[in-house]
Symmetry: D2
Subunit: 352 residues, 4 copies
Amino acid sequence: MATGKDFSSDTAAPAHPRILEALIAANEGNAPSYGDDRWTARLKECMSELFGREVWTFPVLTGTAANAIALATITPPYGAVLCHEAAHILVDECGGAELLSGGARLYPLAGAGGRIDPAPVEALCARLVANGFHNHQPAALSLTQGTESGTIYAIEDLKRLIAPARARGMRIHMDGARLANAVARLGCSPAATTADAGVDVLSFGATKNGATGAEAVVFFNGALAERAIFLQKRAGHVPSKMRFLSAQLLAMLDAGLWLESARAANDMARRLADGLAEIGLAPHWSVEINEVFLTLSRGAAGRLRAAGFQFLSWGPEGETGVGLYRFVTSYATEARDVDQLLGALRSASPLE
Amino acid sequence: MATGKDFSSDTAAPAHPRILEALIAANEGNAPSYGDDRWTARLKECMSELFGREVWTFPVLTGTAANAIALATITPPYGAVLCHEAAHILVDECGGAELLSGGARLYPLAGAGGRIDPAPVEALCARLVANGFHNHQPAALSLTQGTESGTIYAIEDLKRLIAPARARGMRIHMDGARLANAVARLGCSPAATTADAGVDVLSFGATKNGATGAEAVVFFNGALAERAIFLQKRAGHVPSKMRFLSAQLLAMLDAGLWLESARAANDMARRLADGLAEIGLAPHWSVEINEVFLTLSRGAAGRLRAAGFQFLSWGPEGETGVGLYRFVTSYATEARDVDQLLGALRSASPLE
Amino acid sequence: MATGKDFSSDTAAPAHPRILEALIAANEGNAPSYGDDRWTARLKECMSELFGREVWTFPVLTGTAANAIALATITPPYGAVLCHEAAHILVDECGGAELLSGGARLYPLAGAGGRIDPAPVEALCARLVANGFHNHQPAALSLTQGTESGTIYAIEDLKRLIAPARARGMRIHMDGARLANAVARLGCSPAATTADAGVDVLSFGATKNGATGAEAVVFFNGALAERAIFLQKRAGHVPSKMRFLSAQLLAMLDAGLWLESARAANDMARRLADGLAEIGLAPHWSVEINEVFLTLSRGAAGRLRAAGFQFLSWGPEGETGVGLYRFVTSYATEARDVDQLLGALRSASPLE
Amino acid sequence: MATGKDFSSDTAAPAHPRILEALIAANEGNAPSYGDDRWTARLKECMSELFGREVWTFPVLTGTAANAIALATITPPYGAVLCHEAAHILVDECGGAELLSGGARLYPLAGAGGRIDPAPVEALCARLVANGFHNHQPAALSLTQGTESGTIYAIEDLKRLIAPARARGMRIHMDGARLANAVARLGCSPAATTADAGVDVLSFGATKNGATGAEAVVFFNGALAERAIFLQKRAGHVPSKMRFLSAQLLAMLDAGLWLESARAANDMARRLADGLAEIGLAPHWSVEINEVFLTLSRGAAGRLRAAGFQFLSWGPEGETGVGLYRFVTSYATEARDVDQLLGALRSASPLE
């Protein structure tokens, strides 16, 4: 497999062959509908093993669904959800969290490299609490691990954000659309950067990592999970043939495919970053998972696109015609894909 | 393939082999995300051909999603959605339509065999209009074709319901989770029982008919479709790898698989009904698609279940211990499955 | 004061002179905004005295607001709220409860004279629970005391409805828009027909009873009250000059004005009913508070209206041209108003 | 009348005597309920005269209600509402606009003195449009006239903001809680700073200006107004005795009371600002209506409060112990109240 010149997103990649095999294997005869099947039951077991404690799992099709369901279980309609200003829930989900929570408001927080700074969290919470019922009250902190900027939170950084929020009675959500990439990079246990760090509910991603479309809402707290199935159902996210979601998630966990895929993607981004260093180009943010952000001139970006490469503009182009661009690798990216891009960058006069 | 003793639901059936083949075929290299892929573009073309006019298509995972998105495009938050008292949107979707419409209210209407009677529609609308802003105003009529009772609306019956509703300015939704079964039975064109009958927006089902999970919201009116993608997105129903939904829907339309599957399911229900007649048992409602409703004694139902058969209780058991039970066939049901059930019914003393 | 020929509603009556005096008295100098004033603090005290226990009070302008806030505190978005099919929350509030609860569904229940029958409550709850997450789950029972049909629940009847609902974990709301009329009629303590009967949260009406516009949400359970102020605020129901609502409610409680007004209204309805008996006309439902429902021919209703009388049609006119009409008295209705109506009825050939 | 040492808010002031007289005058006999009364009809006429064109008016109790209803008529659930980062709708209404619109998102914009800068409006809109259905789409621009910082928009400034927004198809809302103060200051016609400047729907404030509680949603576009009554009703904001809101608004318009009151409030703020200049203190923002913002040391603020003065902290106190404080005058503030405050400030060593 190879992704050629497409660095637009890890969601553009095809499904991993073992995922398709799992779909085929799950297609054996009739099975109970709406999650009463054995794949879905098994998923709870496997996830519990993975995290070293009992967890409650709810498979869904999309990350937006996972995030919205997770957040709606931990915030009232008048709750404030604090997140990074580049968080997917804020800028790429068209209000999914607001819809399912019935009105919670997302409060954007700044922070370099996609990581929230602790100081503004406290300042914002203090302001909201001081204003009482006149505005939303701090309810949830949503952290993205790995971040939208291709970085990760060190476990200590997570704890530094989470501890004061929990002390305020807030609940912690983690958007783990790229959790696998973060765990692969950290080399820690899955629990270390989630439940052990104080996360209450996790959006466990698989789609960007090789599924055709499958994510799981994972609760580390059974009481919070009680409302989940109702929220999932009314949002249209309980498929009758749920086995086809659960089977994909099981395949991901089987023999460590999720980490194997993530490592492959991370490695290709690392290869890209190393090659860039040789050309003398520095990524905008530290390359820690499978995303590389580059500052390019408008002209260079155009030349790369003309040569067939695909990648996204990230934020508005500056007045000088220089902008930030995102290149994403996936489990399916191959070394030759990266080398081809490096070759093109080398000859593209990136800043002219 | 065979479904053995499982008559619980057509959603319990596995996916059709040609659906899995389509998934595998769609897994070729990278493809643009979020519906910008060629399968999704092709789907609009194929559906337009199918209905003989330009249509606008939005693939989603579940029928609940399709119904909620469809209804939310045709009703304001203070709109009344009229539907049968057994409609899936009313009794099996946990408020999906209310959620996505922001507050529309479903008004249940009676009618034998799952079909709405025209008279109460007018009476209800007149009452709502007379009460003005004090309550919801008539906005949408939602019809299920084939119905939840295993029957179909004759095209003339549809028109008799739709014409006065349209004259009031209402919009028409059709829940076509089993549209294929209805079209197969009617022997009409797909347009005849939808767009030509006055339907504005259709939930086109494929999951019950052999997909792993794929439905399409189909608009016959482009203006109504404009809001759909936003509603779909905020509900978390725009998968990044949408090609895997679209490819299933394309496979369904390819070489008439959707009608072939539906006909197979209908035929098995017909076989069951014919066999029942021989035993002297009459289904509760006319068997017109792939569902058979039987009146059984509690004892008989228990004996069948003890023998391994699966089927649902339909409504509360009466005081006399006699209740209504639903048996559903699917494309995967085989003649021997039906005959086995008939054999068991014959010896089960159904009313004792 | 007199209401002349207007029997349309107790909301058509002017404010009681003592209410206006209270407004004037409350207009002394500056006062803290948004409920931090001494009238609002005093209201909690007076209501606590009235009900013989600590209660939590939230003044609002309208009954719709009171009902929506009350219900939103006791039902999740996927909760079922059971109410009479003639309940104000169902037919006259345009979805206020659905809006503020974020999607709870109102389930109408039949019952003669505006009173819910116990049997269908259990049947409905059992059905909803059996269907699990596929539909709304029993969350609240909403009772109207006095009812929309001009009757009251006997305290034993209330308990018969409330006990099994509470046993299911449901919460109990009482729409007391005409609570004063019911208490006046029952001759019981205010607590007897509310908190002592198992009610969790009460909409305490004053507008129909002589305020310019003031109601209170009264919680008998402090834990439930915690969310109320946020729901009230986001619905725009925390006025900056709240003292003008609280002062009206205080005036109502002062020296028993609320019962005095209600008794006056009830007495006039009684006078009307007694007069009808003399003419040989029987009200459709027992006249227990301040509403009289009469069966009249269309012609008679027209003749009364031509003579200047105002009253509402109640439900659709039957095919025979005979319909049900509602006549409401208020604290401001005088004996001569009633006698004038009786005179007109006597000569109007009510059924011809 | 006098407000003594209370500069906390214009909402702390009592009602104007002419407002109470109007309430008493409106209390004559029965009147039709829910806005069918003659006061409400007359209000539409008077407001139409005031603005020199037909307008559609909806009286409500609170500014939060007016803003939420107004915004909900001009934005879909996936619409972006752009407003100043200090806008009341954003920071003081607990999500009212989100609730009633069913999910619109408020996007805060910076700008000195409470006035939005034009440049970021365009940048934000361009970004939202570029991201398509992945996020909210520009729907409404909400402007506050006079602003939360005690300033006003010059009419040319309004047009500079409004023209490009309208060119994008956005609708314009004006929060006119202090419109009277702005019009009094501008010396323009009411239409000049609203309809003629391109405003579609206005929240016309009266509460801060001397009502007990009354605001009006005023539409300059009849088509937009059609949905308003339904939104108003479902939010519980159609009082049965609406005459008591409408009568207050009529009294405000009668003989120019609204401008007379606003001028009185503005004059007292001017007196305060002039006195501050004499002491050598400069307000933080230009004093253009009835609010004065002062930079004070924590110690000075404490000393003033110890002396009985009331005023709000505005934003968090800086690290140096110096903060911003708001002093508001109202129609009821008298010269001696201001002089008393000036005397205290003179002796309070404001920055020590």
